[in-house]
Symmetry: C2
């Protein structure tokens, strides 16, 4: 198996609730809990090939959801804009506007942290 691609961990955060239960469990164990395919197979009492196939189907479904809904893509755009706001506001280095700038940065941080 090639190296783990953690984009699936991110997409699982967004779309995990749309997956079938066994696919969600496998993604969770493989990407979030760092189990190997063999360990998952043992734990779930199915073949290693069965785990591999379900994992591939789950990954394909997560990619398809992102292509249709684009939540990760949207979040990256929101988050980039919010980071720009933080950077721009830090250039207003003026005691008079300190509180306002702090409030602006807090609002921008909400956007970044919301995910």
């Amino acid at each position: 198996m090639s190296e783990k691609n953690f984009i699936y961990s991110i997409l699982y955060d967004y779309y995990g609730d749309l997956l079938k239960e066994n696919q969600a469990t496998i993604i969770e164990m493989y990407y979030n809990l760092d189990y190997s395919l063999s360990e998952i197979a043992e734990e779930m009492n199915i073949s290693r090939q069965g785990v591999h196939d379900a994992l591939k189907r789950a990954e394909k479904n997560l990619i398809a959801y992102e292509q249709k809904i684009k939540l990760h893509d949207k979040y990256m755009k929101y988050s980039r804009a919010a980071e720009n706001i933080i950077k721009l506001s830090s250039e207003i280095d003026d005691e008079k506007y300190k509180d306002l700038i702090e409030k602006i940065r807090l609002e921008a941080a909400k956007i970044i942290n919301e995910g």
Copy 2:
């Protein structure tokens, strides 16, 4: 039929690509093009009751997607934060920072307009 609830039009923007084709068509015609159930029935060559049932299923699916993915909910939070940033930045009424404030407002507007 009770009054049209345009939340479905918004949810359709987000999740329309996840619906089956006939459900997507019916939501599109009913909410975005303002067809009546009878007009849709005639256009699609199915019974009015068939349109009604498919519409109810489509609405239920859209609500279920929002409950699982919460894209509209997230967008409302992002958008509220971005509006607060615009409001806060307008309180910095200072020629010296005019360009910076304009840039901050543009970034916030990107968030609101991204949807």
